[in-house]
């Protein structure tokens, strides 16, 4: 069982909810006005008692009209203020943090020049002493170190710790720039809160570059094949009913062995609607190997370059005859959610919906004119890995995957797709107006379609 869901548009207060409420109050004020103009004809002078009552009712309704109208205007102003102050506060906070991170990097690098030789000597002595210990004792020490690291796992499910990691990752590039001697004020100006020249994507780009040098290229080309036993006919297709809820969409997300599922539906007007479901990272895939759904692709996506997995989905869509005019809803989990966001926002497709669960897509703005729903667990490490959430028009649904009494297995249990499936079902039943509107705005298809699954294989250009 999960905790209470919090729903918002963007990263803070649901501003569109306030605006909707403001319109409701404006309409109520107009209805009060209608009432006030209907009262005077009732005062006939026949009964002074009735006329006096009607006077009082009229003036009370006039007051209610004025006050409700004022509340409506105040709410509208509050919504605008929330929007601008949220942006300003986030930007100001990031500027200060960026400055501090760069200063810390600068100080630590200077300290490092003094401390590193000592640390190297100490480390070599520890290694030498460890080699002298009997093997049994070495194994015991190793076991204790692993236990100590496992003890950290519950901390990585704490929402406050995860938010700190999110902020720290956003500031990582600033600290690196500080370390190499760039003045903190210049770092703050260049960072996400300033000119946005550097950011988590530039830090990730540096990792992509280093990984490529090490032979693990997350941007190598890929080959996709339709899955199924009838390979002579180019794989198999199967009939499929259209999705009817968020949970239904999340349940259709495949595993990484066939990471792409594409459903084609014929619409009454003869056009085609496509639903794409994209898998999450294969945790066992070697970095830069044949499986494009690996960490190398993950880092490449966050760096903003065309990852192998993104290329694979593009290729599968092309194989299904999807053009820039085809209506497409993208649904993805984890890395699949990040791919879905990249493709939905690419401008290469007529995106009609976006649903992501547990995706490291915070640094990817969502600005398109389509319903977008982002589901995250507060205790999931993965969504924090892309740093602080940037501009988004998506409805963000946050829930808790793990209850306080629960002791789940694994390093990131809150990232399990099954847990996200439960949260998606809760979101389906949630009464937030913004969420309901987004769900209702997802395309509804009247008849069954055809589904195809695709495998993807990376063709490494660099020797392994």
């Amino acid at each position: 069982m999960t905790g209470t869901l919090a729903v918002g548009v963007g990263s803070g207060v649901a501003v569109d909810e306030l605006e909707r409420l403001s319109r409701v109050l404006q309409s109520a004020a107009e209805q009060c006005f209608e009432i006030t103009v209907r009262i005077p004809p009732l005062r006939t002078g026949v009964s002074h008692g009735i006329d006096a009552d009607l006077w009082e009712i009229e003036s009370a309704v006039v007051r209610a009209r004025d006050h409700v109208g004022e509340l409506s205007r105040a709410l509208w102003s509050a919504a605008s203020l929330y929007e601008s102050s949220e942006r300003a506060a986030a930007r100001a906070g990031e500027l200060v943090a960026s400055h501090l991170a760069a200063t810390a990097g600068l100080v630590l690098s200077r300290l490092g020049l003094i401390v590193v030789p000592g640390v190297v000597v100490a480390a070599s002595r520890v290694t030498a002493i460890a080699q002298l210990l009997p093997e049994q004792q070495r194994e015991l020490i190793t076991h204790q170190l692993v236990s100590a690291l496992s003890a950290l796992a519950p901390a990585l499910r704490e929402p406050t710790v995860l938010e700190a990691i999110r902020a720290a990752l956003t500031l990582a590039d600033d600290a690196v720039l500080g370390t190499v001697g760039v003045p903190p004020t210049v770092v703050a100006t260049l960072g996400e809160a300033g000119l946005d020249v550097t950011g988590i994507d530039s830090a990730a780009l540096a990792v992509v570059g280093l990984a490529a040098l090490a032979g693990a290229n997350g941007t190598d080309p890929v080959r996709v094949d339709r899955a199924g036993s009838d390979l002579r006919r180019g794989g198999e297709t199967r009939p499929v009913a259209p999705p009817d809820s968020l949970a239904d969409r999340v349940a259709r997300i495949p595993d990484a062995s066939t990471p792409i599922v594409i459903e084609r539906y014929a619409l009454p007007d003869g056009s085609v609607h496509v639903e794409v479901y994209i898998a999450g990272t294969d945790a066992h895939a070697p970095m830069g190997g044949e499986q494009p759904w690996d960490m190398a692709s993950n880092v490449a996506i966050i760096a903003g370059v065309e990852a192998s997995s993104v290329q694979a989905v593009r290729a599968a869509l092309a194989a299904e005859g999807v053009t820039s005019d085809t209506s497409v809803v993208f649904t993805g989990y984890s890395q699949g959610g990040a791919i879905a966001t990249v493709l939905a926002e690419s401008g290469d497709y007529r995106t009609t919906g976006l649903v992501t669960v547990g995706a490291p897509s915070g640094a990817m703005p969502v600005r398109g004119d389509y319903p977008a729903i982002v589901i995250e667990h507060r205790d999931d490490l993965v969504p924090t890995l892309s740093g602080i959430r940037r501009e988004t028009t998506a409805v963000v649904v946050r829930g808790d995957a793990i209850t306080s009494g629960e002791h789940p297995e694994g390093f990131v249990p809150a990232h399990d797709l099954d847990r996200y499936l439960r949260t998606a079902a809760e979101a389906d039943a949630h009464d937030s107006a913004a969420l309901r509107a987004a769900i209702e705005a997802l395309p509804r298809v009247p008849q069954s379609g055809i589904a195809s699954s695709y495998t993807a294989t990376r063709i490494p250009s660099s020797p392994q």
Binding site: Q31, C32, P41, G49, H67
Partner: protein
């Protein structure tokens, strides 16, 4: 131009009508007013209906809205009282109303 519907807002108050019919017409108008005020009450959100907004501003807003809801609820009670008086006039026959 004035419309002839008894519910029309601007129709003159029953000149030329039988006094008995005039009171009945007024009861219909009062019923309409009660319906309209009730409708405004259903439109105004109740406290606790805001999931995506929090803080002192929301509390102040909910309080203000509560006051207006209470004000409008009282007007429904007053309109009910006016209606009751008019019905008594019909029952007792049109004459001097206290």
């Amino acid at each position: 131009m004035y419309a002839t519907s008894p519910l029309d807002t601007c129709s003159p108050s029953g000149r030329g009508l039988d006094p008995h019919d005039e009171v009945r017409r007024q009861i219909v108008l009062v019923d309409d007013l009660i319906d309209r005020v009730s409708m405004v009450l259903t439109v105004l959100p109740e406290s606790g209906a805001f999931h995506d907004w929090w803080g002192p501003a929301r509390e102040a807003f909910e309080q203000s809205l509560g006051i207006e809801r209470a004000r409008l609820s009282r007007q429904i009670e007053r309109l009910d009282a006016v209606r009751a008086q008019l019905e008594r006039v019909v029952i007792q026959g049109v004459g001097v109303v206290p």
